[in-house]
Each structure stands twice: as structure tokens, then as C-alpha cells.
């Protein structure tokens, strides 16, 4: 039902940092793999809907006894195609004080990026506000947009935290 990612098992060293790569509308994004707890398949049966909340909050689910909110990034960023099938995955993030599940189009890779492969964040618009970007990674022909997921998830616009985010 779910694959475990060896979160935190790899040591970050001078050679670079590891990123989990996921896709949203054919664009690849990278997040710090140390924030990722595990990746699960999306099972709509196990997500309990919550009334009167923004539509991108799918509800809460039971993750081994912990109640975890599930956010659909595709709805949040107004992607046109939002469907749930057996390939839909939830990335469970282990943030500083809380656990959050994020629905994305797919998870493709775990990549090691050396500092030389990371350039400054672009000023052009992506799904994410530039405020939450840490840079652009280049691996061969591929371009990764690197996201500060901790900051994004605790931000006020995600409405996951009771009050204004403390970053």
C-alpha cells in the first residue's frame, strides 16, 4: 500500500543535499528529503471530510493512531486536472511540530544536488509564491523548483495552523 522512503537515513554532507522530487502539472519540484516521513497511496475512504474549511484541505486521516490533515496541492494551486486514482500519492511530511500529508500528482525521484547545481530562486511565477522557493536545481536536462516546504505548510495561506505562522 505504501513505500517507505528512508527518511533521514542519508547523511547530508558537503557533497550536497538530497531532495524528493514530485510533480505537479508536469513541473518537477524538490523538497528536502529530511522533512519527508513516508509516502502513501491516497485512499479517499480513509480521509474524513471536515466541514467549512477551504476545499484544498481534504480532511483528516488516521496515520497509525495520529490524526493527520491531508492537503491537496493540486487544488490549492488551481491545477486543471485533479483526479484520484491508484497512482495518486500522499507525501507525509514531518515538520518541526506537526505531521501533514500532501497530495501531489506523483513522486518520481530522489536526487542529490550539489551546491553548484543550485541557482537562485527565479522571479517568474510558479505555482508557489516565490516567498517559499529556495532555488532552482538543474540535473542534466531537468529543472527542479526547490521549495521550503516547512515554511509553506506553516504559512497562513495553508490554514493548517491556528494562528499566523511563526517561521
Amino acid at each position: 500500500m505504501f513505500n517507505k522512503v528512508q527518511a533521514g537515513a542519508q547523511q547530508v554532507d558537503d557533497a550536497g543535499r538530497e531532495f524528493l522530487v514530485f510533480t505537479l502539472a508536469n513541473q518537477e519540484y524538490g523538497i528536502d528529503i529530511l522533512k519527508v516521513q513516508e509516502i502513501r497511496g491516497y485512499d479517499s475512504q480513509s480521509v474524513t471530510r471536515i466541514a467549512n474549511v477551504p476545499s484544498f484541505i481534504k480532511g483528516v486521516t488516521n496515520l497509525r493512531g495520529i490524526i493527520v490533515p491531508i492537503v491537496d496541492m493540486r487544488i490549492k494551486f488551481n491545477l486543471e486536472k485533479v483526479e484520484y486514482n491508484q497512482h495518486t500519492v500522499v507525501v507525509i511530511l514531518n515538520l518541526e511540530t506537526r505531521v501533514v500529508g500532501v497530495v501531489v500528482d506523483g513522486v518520481s525521484d530522489v536526487l542529490m544536488l550539489k551546491p553548484s547545481e543550485v541557482s537562485a530562486a527565479p522571479q517568474f511565477g510558479t505555482a508557489f509564491s516565490t516567498e517559499y522557493l529556495t532555488g532552482i536545481g538543474t540535473v542534466g536536462e531537468r529543472m527542479l523548483i526547490l521549495v521550503d516546504i516547512e515554511r509553506l505548510m506553516t504559512s497562513q495561506e495553508m490554514a493548517l495552523v491556528e494562528q499566523a505562522a511563526v517561521v
Binding site: S46, A51, N52, V60, T61, G65, I67, V161, E162
Partner: protein, 700 residues
């Protein structure tokens, strides 16, 4: 008022608490800035001392601890009231006192008597400081810690013949006979010397391997034994009250009396011997009760038995187990579902195994859950003794009644409710219930009633302490409040006035006793309750009594829930709010406006709230007469909640939503159902507020 509750089962908890409080006290003491003392810090130190004293007093057998903290508390009280200014040497003395207290706690924990010299020294120093301050120290405060022992020679520093002021010391000193069997001549000499220090040796008889000494002393039998135990083994010693043989001829047919009742004596040495196994105790404790020595040795045996049978485990470890077991149960349910498609004949053994697994998993889950849950009896059973002892000391007649002992409460809450409850009970004993004469004069039953009760009420646990005593005195509180500069006047309502007794440093007690009356109690009580996320209410009517009500949130508690279905969704209603459910008929329905209806049930008009409207559920039953109305009660308000179906009743474990998410309007918490899905627990109070404000969902 039942006696005989074994308090020793709570000793360990008390010691742990005391250790923590002392550690806190030290830290705070070290942090105090002598030139600019912070009143919060002084209050904190004072409360720590007060709590330890309260605990030690409850058990009644930690005399040194209670006396020392009492002196300390007096000084701290003066400091925090600003009657004394803080000096560095005071802090030093307090720190030293803290060390002595720590040693005393350690000694009591090991069933030993604390160091008498250290105790006397520190008490003397504390008293000196108190005198120097010139402040008026209540007589009781000074005299309490001066035991009979101080006037006696102290051969063994570790032995306190009069630890507890209430110890039964035979007045005038009736003679005791101390018999030691199989003793070596060297020990015999040492023992004789010791005995001579404790009193006047009337007669001494020795044979090659035994020694008998008749002693005229003010010390108790238990103390004599305790002294002997430093030289010989407890099994060898017997102490009885008996006149020396010179007078023996007068009392011929007398029984060997254990208790120092009369000079009834047994001349025949043989008749004493059978009593030996039952009387000796190696425990140098002097219990405040006239309990026999065998009683204390039994307690000790129980205690040592307990040490090996329990372990202290961090709550987070238990929580981890609970979560893992929950996961196991869900996996097991998944297996059952998958296996149900298999051919039972071909997979006979596999299916049997799965069935076995199911039973084991359920049992495991049940036992793990029970680890955290404890009945309120754990708290309530402490009070009969507190009430009994204090009632007799204060000369009052009090009947204690408890309800709801079986109400289960999470362990972490139950441990933290003890202190606040103790304060409340003591307040009722000391200030609430009047003396029998006063009660009779007021036309009340001379016997006062004190009622403790606990119950689950909706999303909360309600614990009540109520008495039928004098109630709060409006004039006294008002006077005191004006004195202390609180913003009150003649027109302030009773309820507002009562709130003042929760303010730090506010006490209306006319005299300070060692039970209560420093005004620290209610301050501590409220802080403790608030730190548990609960709140406290007080109602009182002059002349009729006081009721204090503690409401604790359901967090951590198990909840009896009714699961209901709306559309495809399951919600849990707290069962304590549910009074009945019914299918409404068209005749019962009356519409107030286009969207608002009331339900007419047995002469009562109840507002109707549709759950699918509140939580915007799709696909719910919209025909009211085809849905189910669950009648809910929150506080005094009743209303009907419309749902599609009743699913069942079950106990659910309350899971916090805020830890990873945030508060959801109208929902108090969540739980995990048997199939692993999450169900939300409805906040009935929030729904009730909605029916009142009529603002719909926006009313949250």
C-alpha cells in the same frame, strides 16, 4: 467516615511529588534576586512549601516534614506579603532547609526516621529568623514542632521518640518491661546503657542469654523497640507494659497487656513469650495513630511487596504502545476482511489463526487502554482518613459521602487533581462546616455533610466538593477585599465576590491553622485546574453551604459515544448529552420560519438542528419525518439534532485534532473507529450556542 483506609499506598506518589516540589523550590530560590524579589517567585516557593506541608499533614505520619515546612511556610508567607524583606542569608537558610527536607523525604521513603539533630537545628534557625522579624507568629505554629522529645536526652540522633505530636505517650510514664532473647553480654551492656538514657531503670534481670529491663519512661513501646533495634535484631525484642517484679505479687491473674493502659502485669515471664512474634517491629516509625506495632510491620511488608510489583513508566511510552496496538488492530481487521473471501475448507488453519489473532488483538488493546485509566476511587479513598482525623481534631462531626468512584479518569489528570481536591476538602472541613453546637443553634443537623462526587458530563468530567456548612461570608470577603484594595463595593454581586477567593494571597480565615486559611489554597487550586485545561466554579449561600465544581475537559479521557450517520459520514455524539432519540412525526413539527422548526415533545418545544446543515453534508435525508431526532442536553438547554441513522454506542478514545491541525468549529475532538477511519466528535456545547444565537454556522 470509614476508617482503616491504607494510605501507605499513596506514600510513593507523595514522595515523588515532594521531590519534584523541592527541586522546583531550589531552582526558584536560586533565581531570586535579593534586591528586587519577584512576587511570582516568592509565591511559587511558598506554594511548594505549602503543598508539601499539606501532603505530609494528610498522611499524619511525616511529622518532621510537616513541622519543618510549616515553619518555612510561615517565613515565606511573611516574605511574600512584604512583611519581611528578602536577605541573602535567608535564601541560604531556605536552601539549607530544602536540603534537610530532601533528606527527610529520603528517610521517610526508606521507612527510616529523619535525622533528629538536623531537624532540631533547622527548626531552631527558622524560629530564630521568625522572631527576629518580630512578626506575630501564631502560637500553634511555634508550639507544634516542639515535641516532647526536645526536653529529653537524645542518645541516638536518628531516633525521635515524639515525632508526631499526637503520638500516644503514656502519661506519667508507666513502666515497660523490655525483654531481649539470645543476647551477648556485650550487647546486653550496651542495651542497658541505652535504656538508662531513656528513663529510669527500675529493675534489671539477666540470664546467660536473655535480658529483661523494667523501665520507667515517657517514651512509647514502639520507641523502645526502635532503640533496641540499633543493637539487636527486632525478632529478639519484646516490649510490654508491665510493672517490675517487686509489685508483681499484687497482680496475679493479669493478662500481658500490650497497650499502655494500666499497670496490669503478668508476673509469669512465660506468658509474655507467645506475644513476641506479633509485637516486634523493626520499624522505628511512630505512627500518629495508636496503631499496634504489628500494624506498622504489616504495612512495611506490603510496601516492600509493592516495590517489586510496579514500575514507573513514562506516559509517552504508554501512549506509543496505545498507538501501536491501535495500528495492530486495524491491520488485523484488514486481514480478517481479506481472509473472508477465502474458501473456509481449504484454508481452515489460516482462518483459525486469524480468528485467534482477532481475539488476542482485542484483549491486548483492552489491557493497554486500561493502563492509562484509573477510577476516581484512587483519589476519593484518601479522604475518609483526612476527614476523620481533622474532624476529631477540630471537634466537628462530619459525614463524608462519595459518589461516582468508578468514574474513570486518565492517569495524568487523576494525579494532578489530588492536590486541588485536597485543598478543597480541607477548606470545607476547616472553614465550611461549623461546630456541632453552632449547627444545632442554626437548626441544622449537628453532623455536617461533605459530599465528593465525580461524573462524566458531556465533553467534561465534573468533580464536585460540596458541604452544608456556613457558606462564604459576604461581609468578611467584602471587608477583606476592601482592605486589600480590590475594586469592589457594596453592590458587587455575590458571584463576583466569590471569585475573589481565587486571587493570590486572599484569605478570609479568622485564624491560620495548619490545615488551611492562608489564602494560598484557592489560588493554587485554580492554577492547577487551569493548567489541566479545566475551570473551577464556586457557588455558595450563606448559612447553607458551599459547592465547588471542577470541570475538566475530555482530552485524554475515554468517551462513551453514540455514533450517528449523516449522508455517508459518521459522527460521534457524547452519550452523556443524549437523553433520547425518536422519529419525529408530522404532528410534532412546527415551523417558526421557512427554515426553522421546533419539535413538540411532551409539552416541550425543542429547537431542531440538522446536523447535515451544520457540517454541510451531501446526500443526507432532508425529509424531517424520515430522519431521527436525537434529543441532546447541554447545561440547561435541550434541543433536537437531526441525523439519518443511529449506528451504535461505543467507547471511543479521544484524539486531539489540534496537535497536527487546528480546532474545527463545532467539533471537540476526533477518534479512530474500528475500521481505522477517523470520526469527528461533535461539540454539543457549540451546537447549543448555535441554537441560542441563531446565527447558523457563522455563529461559531
Amino acid at each position: 467516615m470509614s476508617a482503616g483506609v491504607d494510605l501507605s499506598q499513596f506514600y510513593e506518589t507523595f514522595f515523588d511529588e515532594a521531590d519534584e516540589l523541592l527541586a522546583d523550590m531550589e531552582q526558584t530560590l536560586l533565581a531570586v534576586d535579593v534586591d528586587h524579589p519577584d512576587s511570582d517567585q516568592l509565591n511559587a516557593i511558598f506554594r511548594a512549601a505549602h503543598s508539601i506541608k499539606g501532603g505530609a499533614g494528610t498522611f499524619g505520619c511525616f511529622g518532621h516534614l510537616a513541622d519543618t515546612t510549616h515553619l518555612l511556610e510561615n517565613l515565606l508567607d511573611a516574605l511574600r506579603r512584604g512583611e519581611m524583606s528578602v536577605r541573602k542569608d535567608m535564601i541560604d537558610l531556605f536552601l539549607e532547609t530544602k536540603d534537610v527536607l530532601t533528606a527527610q523525604v529520603a528517610a521517610y521513603r526508606n521507612s527510616e526516621q529523619p535525622d533528629e539533630q538536623a531537624y532540631q537545628r533547622i527548626c531552631a534557625q527558622l524560629r530564630e529568623l521568625a522572631l527576629e522579624q518580630g512578626g506575630e507568629i501564631p502560637a500553634g505554629a511555634v508550639s507544634a514542632p516542639v515535641p516532647v522529645a526536645s526536653s529529653q536526652p537524645e542518645p541516638q540522633p536518628a531516633i525521635a521518640p515524639a515525632t508526631a505530636p499526637a503520638a500516644p505517650v503514656p502519661a506519667g510514664g508507666s513502666p515497660y518491661r523490655v525483654t531481649v532473647k539470645s543476647i551477648t553480654p556485650k550487647d546486653a551492656q550496651a542495651l542497658s546503657d541505652e535504656m538508662a538514657l531513656l528513663g529510669q531503670v527500675l529493675h534489671r534481670e539477666s540470664s546467660p542469654d536473655s535480658l529483661s529491663i523494667w523501665l520507667d519512661t515517657t517514651a512509647s513501646a514502639a520507641d523502645l523497640e526502635a532503640v533496641c533495634c540499633f543493637i539487636v535484631d527486632a525478632m529478639q525484642v519484646s516490649v510490654v507494659s508491665e510493672a517490675p517484679p517487686a509489685d508483681a505479687a499484687q497482680a496475679e491473674a493479669a493478662q500481658p497487656a500490650q497497650e499502655p493502659v494500666a499497670a496490669a502485669a503478668a508476673p509469669a515471664q512465660e506468658s509474655v513469650a507467645p506475644a513476641v512474634p506479633s509485637s516486634p517491629s523493626s520499624e522505628p516509625s511512630s505512627s500518629s495513630e495508636p496503631s499496634s506495632a504489628s500494624d506498622s510491620s504489616r504495612k512495611k511488608a506490603e510496601k516492600s511487596g509493592k516495590e517489586s510489583s510496579t514500575i514507573r513508566v513514562g506516559v509517552e511510552k504508554v501512549d506509543q504502545i496505545i498507538n501501536l496496538v491501535g495500528e495492530l488492530v486495524i491491520t488485523q481487521a484488514m486481514l480478517v476482511q481479506t481472509a473472508s473471501t477465502l474458501d473456509p475448507v481449504l484454508h481452515d488453519r489460516l482462518l483459525n489463526g486469524i480468528e485467534q489473532l482477532e481475539r488476542n488483538a482485542r484483549d491486548l488493546q483492552e489491557s493497554v487502554m486500561s493502563i492509562r485509566m484509573m477510577p476516581m476511587d484512587y483519589v476519593f479513598s484518601r479522604f475518609p482518613r483526612v476527614v476523620r482525623e481533622n474532624a476529631s481534631r477540630l471537634g466537628k462531626r462530619i459525614k463524608l459521602t462519595t459518589h461516582g468512584q468508578a468514574t474513570e479518569l486518565d492517569k495524568s489528570l487523576i494525579e494532578r487533581i489530588i492536590d486541588p481536591l485536597t485543598h478543597l476538602v480541607r477548606n470545607s472541613l476547616d472553614h465550611g462546616i461549623e461546630l456541632p453546637e453552632v449547627r444545632e443553634a442554626a437548626g441544622k443537623d449537628p453532623e455536617g455533610q461533605l459530599v465528593l462526587s465525580a461524573q462524566h458530563n458531556g465533553g467534561q468530567i465534573v468533580i464536585e466538593v460540596s458541604d452544608d456548612g456556613a457558606g462564604l461570608s459576604r461581609e468578611r470577603i467584602l471587608k477583606k477585599a476592601l482592605q486589600q484594595g480590590f475594586p469592589v463595593n457594596e453592590n458587587t454581586s455575590d458571584d463576583e465576590l466569590w471569585q475573589l477567593i481565587f486571587a493570590p494571597g486572599f484569605s478570609t480565615a479568622e485564624k491560620i491553622t495548619d490545615i488551611s486559611g492562608r489564602g494560598v489554597g484557592m489560588d493554587v487550586v485554580r492554577r492547577n485546574i487551569q493548567s489541566m485545561g479545566g475551570h473551577i466554579q464556586l457557588s455558595s449561600r450563606t448559612g447553607e453551604g458551599t459547592t465547588t465544581r471542577i470541570l475538566l475537559p475530555l482530552t485524554l479521557a475515554i468517551l462513551d459515544g453514540m455514533s450517528v450517520q449523516v449522508g455517508e459520514e459518521i459522527f460521534i455524539l457524547p452519550l452523556t448529552h443524549v437523553t433520547e432519540s425518536m422519529q419525529p412525526t408530522a404532528e410534532q413539527l412546527h415551523s417558526i420560519s421557512e427554515t426553522e422548526h421546533v419539535l413538540h415533545v411532551r409539552g416541550e418545544y425543542l429547537p431542531l438542528v440538522a446536523l447535515h446543515n451544520v457540517f454541510s453534508v451531501d446526500g443526507a435525508q432532508t425529509d424531517i419525518t424520515r430522519s431521527i431526532a436525537v434529543i441532546l442536553q447541554a447545561e440547561e438547554t435541550r434541543f433536537a439534532l437531526l441525523v439519518d441513522h443511529l449506528v451504535g454506542q461505543q467507547q471511543v478514545v479521544v484524539k486531539n485534532l489540534e496537535s497536527n491541525y487546528r480546532k474545527i468549529p463545532g467539533i471537540s475532538a476526533a477518534t479512530i473507529l474500528g475500521d481505522g477511519s477517523v470520526a469527528l466528535i461533535v461539540d454539543v456545547f457549540a451546537l447549543m450556542r448555535m441554537t441560542r444565537t441563531k446565527e447558523g454556522v457563522a455563529g461559531f
